[in-house]
């Protein structure tokens, strides 16, 4: 046997000390009879011969010794006589161990021609000293030392290299034989995407996610929007092989139920072989299922709370942090590094971003508030879960707090009063400012600063000062509390739900106009046979073709154009700068039009009549005239601020659109100069890094590893979810909003009422194709991109949120029951299950299992 090159199917390849964790495990799979691509391994002995001193970063790449070059040539000739494309993969000695996966830390090369293999072997070796790999090793060592378990979990520093036949995969993905988050014991997850698995592993696509019982029964299927894939064939050798997925395929399911069961079956065989839960990479070439890698699952932890430093990489800030609900409810996925970097520059210093989510500083809040609450009580209040039983003022902190408030009023009170009566004409100023900045030459952070914080000029029109408008609109919550206390004291017999029902907009909000716009588009499409058929058929490719052929003066084309002029900056997840807007990608919008076409929603409710009725009942219940006048004032102001809140959201998302457009302009230039290679990668850099790329202080090779590491981290965090608290675990936080047995779920009432119907679990509004009256929308979160779905359903249940949420505001406007903050409802409830919603009590009852 040659000590430097061994066949993967030889018994020697199963020795991890010789071939590294990845190769050894692949060898065991191959020898157990599983379908693994042909390969040979350049062993760690060859590495050691070329790098005698591994503790230092090598000054230059070593020259390959003739003996090794000869051995590689012989192996290529013996195993790959047909001259195929190959994959050259790193297999470090510590890789894929139970202590450290090293996922994505070392290099792998695809589409390698046999002649290039020796060079790529050297490149793989050198990736052992790449910045991400060194950082990972340092973090693991720090983490291990801190816990007193294993100061060096990374083992010996050496690397073998696998040279493997490349699978020309049409479909690929990952299978977790147990749920890595620990939420679903006895269940497995499969992630699947089109093309090669590299796009999925690198976090470049949103894959389909399938939850299966370990017996093979499919429990749920989450369809991802798979916009791009890594092609199975190499069209451009200099390119990164990413190509767009045809429209029809983007929302199509990658795996049939039977294929998914086969993937799970093979993965469970791997689990049995290795004796523990596995994370298995798989790929289909035609109908042949290949296993490409199997590693132990290393991450597992509860998502609702986390202790500092509990991160697998040893990160995490000190202190106590609570998820900031008003931001968190807009999206469940973490923000990309670029969004975090830009937003952190304009957000107030009351919190910070951790893993792409914004957290409030609990210690700071405890110091600022003149109250004697325990940490767990404060957490519940900050999570907007419940009102405290009593204020429990702290006598020595109260004077300081009052003094601080008086000072703040002196400094900022003028703007506070000025923002109390903002007209819709004032808001138009914001649109004007956006157009001006879009055409300007300011740097991107300056643009965002100007749009969020303002110019600082004291005479600047209030409509251009997003920060004040947002604070202003939030006043309705205080006024609502005042009205509640007034009625509770002087009209104790009054139903408290009556007060809450006043918290809808004035019927003229931008959300209402948006829904009416989609309704109008559906009405026009209904009148055009060809367009109506294309929309109703549900074939996005055919729909795109029909739209392309529409003459510009066609009624639908004109209406769509007018709609996009007004609402083209909207989309789902609109706070995230990497999200395409409807103007760029109208498919989600057209799918909503299709939903309206299939099941036309009823006419908009006359909430004004309900409002008048509620107002009169409150007035009649109050005995004194001053009380009635005060109630009238509060009700008028509440209605005004609720409308302002919806309208400001419409205008302020224009800021995200402007910033995104400017970023895309920068990205185009970087792509043209080859400093970036893939559209979308810019959002995984910080602004300073982008500036360095622009000024050629950095190049593609400096940032490509960072981008890949951050994409992978983003994908991991998105999969695991954000903990609600960090550094503090209130005694009963686990129970708040949690499932109460299998038949009942509880949450908070955001819009009162009762409804019964089929649970329709929707994870992406663009993929909600067939909602019907009688359905109950079950969603992880809602933002204005979800608004058009509300008129289609009888009730709404949301995982995140509070009474202040967008979901509640819109549900109240449409008079439909809504329960928010129902933990894990998208996972606990089953698609099509019959449920009953008692929104006023914040309770959901499962009628059938």
């Amino acid at each position: 046997m040659n000590p430097w090159v061994v066949n993967l199917r030889d018994a020697a390849a199963g020795d991890a000390a010789l071939t590294g964790g990845k190769a050894a495990r692949l060898s065991r799979l191959a020898r157990a009879g599983m379908t693994v691509p042909d390969a040979f391994v350049v062993t760690s002995a060859a590495f050691t011969a070329h790098f005698p001193a591994v503790s230092e970063v090598p000054a230059q790449a070593p020259e390959l010794q003739p003996m090794l070059r000869q051995a590689i040539g012989a192996a290529l000739l013996a195993q790959f006589p047909d001259n195929p494309y190959l994959v050259v993969r790193s297999s470090a000695l510590a890789e894929d161990s139970a202590g450290a996966s090293f996922a994505g830390q070392h290099e792998s090369y695809y589409y390698v021609a046999p002649d290039d293999v020796p060079d790529k072997v050297v490149d793989c070796w050198l990736s052992l000293w790449s910045a991400p790999a060194r950082h990972y090793r340092a973090a693991r060592a720090r983490d291990g030392a801190g816990r007193g378990v294993d100061p060096d979990p990374c083992g010996e520093l050496a690397m073998a290299v696998i040279v493997q036949r490349m699978v020309q995969a049409e479909r690929s993905g990952v299978c977790f034989t147990c749920d890595p988050t620990g939420r679903y014991p006895d269940h497995a997850w499969i992630e699947a995407a089109w093309g090669l698995g590299a796009a999925l592993v690198d976090g470049r696509v949103s894959p389909d996610r399938l939850l299966l019982e370990r017996g093979g029964t499919l429990v749920r299927r989450e369809i991802g929007r798979k916009r791009q894939k890594v092609a199975a064939t190499l069209s451009d050798p200099g390119d990164l092989r990413l190509e767009p997925v045809p429209l029809l395929q983007q929302t199509a399911s990658v795996l049939s139920e039977r294929d998914a069961a086969d993937v799970l079956d093979k993965s469970l065989e791997a689990e049995a072989l290795f004796g523990g839960p596995q994370d298995v990479e798989w790929a289909y070439q035609g109908q042949v299922l290949y296993l490409l890698q199997s590693r132990p699952i290393t991450t597992k932890g509860p998502p609702r709370s986390r202790t500092p430093g509990a991160d697998p990489a040893g990160r995490g800030p000190a202190g106590r942090w609570v998820l900031f609900k008003p931001l968190a409810e807009n999206f469940t996925e973490p923000l990309t590094p670029m969004s975090v970097d830009l937003f952190r520059r304009v957000l107030p210093p009351i919190g910070r971003f951790i893993d792409g989510h914004y957290y409030l500083n609990l210690d700071l809040a405890a110091r600022l508030l003149p109250l004697r609450w325990r940490a767990d009580e404060l957490v519940k209040v900050l999570l907007l879960r419940e009102e405290p039983a009593a204020l429990q003022l702290s006598p020595w902190r109260l004077p300081l707090a009052l003094l601080g408030l008086a000072g703040l009023y002196l400094l900022d009170g003028v703007s506070w009063h000025r923002s109390a009566r903002v007209t819709r004409a004032d808001l138009q100023d914001y649109a004007t400012l956006c157009r001006k900045l879009l055409a300007g030459r300011d740097e991107v952070p300056a643009v965002l600063h100007r749009l969020v914080v303002g110019s600082g000029h004291p005479f600047e029109p209030i409509g251009r000062r997003a920060y004040y408008l947002n604070v202003s609109a939030g006043r309705y919550f205080l006024l609502l509390g005042a009205l509640g206390r007034l009625t509770a004291r002087y009209a104790p017999g009054l139903d408290p739900q009556l007060v809450q029902s006043l918290c809808s907009g004035d019927g003229n909000t931008s959300s209402r106009h948006l829904v009416e716009g989609i309704r109008a588009l559906a009405a026009i499409a209904r009148g055009d046979a060809m367009l109506g058929e294309a929309l109703a058929a549900g074939d996005p490719t055919a729909l795109a073709a029909v739209l392309d052929e529409l003459p510009p003066d066609h009624r639908f084309a004109r209406a769509l154009d007018a709609f996009l002029q007004r609402f083209g900056h909207r989309c789902s997840k609109e706070m995230e700068l990497s999200t395409p807007r409807w103007r760029e990608d109208p498919l989600p919008l057209l799918l909503m039009v299709r939903s309206y076409l299939r099941s036309p929603p009823g006419p908009p409710p006359d909430t004004h009549a309900d409002y008048l009725l509620a107002r009169n009942r409150i007035r009649e219940a109050l005995p004194r005239r001053w009380q009635q006048r005060l109630a009238d004032y509060l009700i008028e102001r509440i209605r005004y601020y609720v409308s302002l809140r919806e309208d400001t959201r419409h205008y302020h998302t224009m800021a995200m659109d402007v910033v995104r457009t400017r970023l895309l302009g920068v990205e185009q230039k970087l792509l043209a100069t080859r400093r970036l290679r893939v559209p979308g990668d810019l959002f995984y850099l910080t602004w300073d890094e982008v500036r360095d790329l622009e000024q050629a202080r950095l190049g593609w090779h400096d940032v490509s590893a960072r981008i890949r590491t951050r994409r992978q981290a983003h994908r991991r965090i998105a999969r695991e979810g954000a903990p609600e608290t960090i550094g503090v675990t209130p005694a009963d936080a686990e129970n708040v909003g949690a499932t109460n047995g299998v038949d009942n779920l509880t949450g908070q009432c955001a819009s009162p009422g009762t409804a019964e119907g089929r649970a329709r679990i929707v994870l992406d509004p663009a993929l909600a194709h067939d909602l019907e009256p009688g359905d109950i929308l079950v969603a992880p979160y809602t933002d204005p991109g979800w608004t058009p779905l509300f008129p289609l359903v009888d009730a709404v249940i949301v995982e995140l949120g509070s009474f202040l949420s967008h979901a509640g505001t819109v549900a109240r406007e449409y008079g439909i029951p809504c329960v928010v903050d129902v933990a894990d409802c998208t996972r606990t409830l089953k698609e099509g299950q019959r449920i009953r919603v008692f929104a006023s009590a914040g309770r959901i009852e499962v009628c059938e299992p």
Binding site: V346, R352, L411, V414, G454
Partner: protein
């Protein structure tokens, strides 16, 4: 007495200037002027009590608030623009 008038007129000045600065916004001008007239009432009340002696504390209170407002607008902007609030985050 002047000091007391000054302290009383400080919040009244904030309230009044809130309406005065609204003249730069797009709201109905007549409504804004009406609001200014109403918010000037605390100044009228102090003038009725103190007579001529109200002039200094009234002007001082208005000047204090206007200066604080303008200074704070510029200062807070400068702090945010220089990125002093979140220097090193993940």
């Amino acid at each position: 007495m002047s000091l007391l008038a000054y302290l009383l007129l400080l919040p009244a000045s904030v309230w009044l200037l809130g309406a005065v600065f609204s003249l730069f916004d797009r709201g109905d001008r007549a409504t804004v002027l009406g609001r200014i007239a109403v918010r000037g009432l605390p100044f009228v009340a102090v003038a009725l009590v103190l007579g001529d002696r109200a002039a200094v504390p009234a002007l001082a209170a208005a000047a204090t608030v206007a200066t604080a407002h303008v200074a704070w607008s510029w200062l807070s902007q400068a702090i945010v623009r220089r990125g002093r609030l979140h220097p090193n985050e993940d």
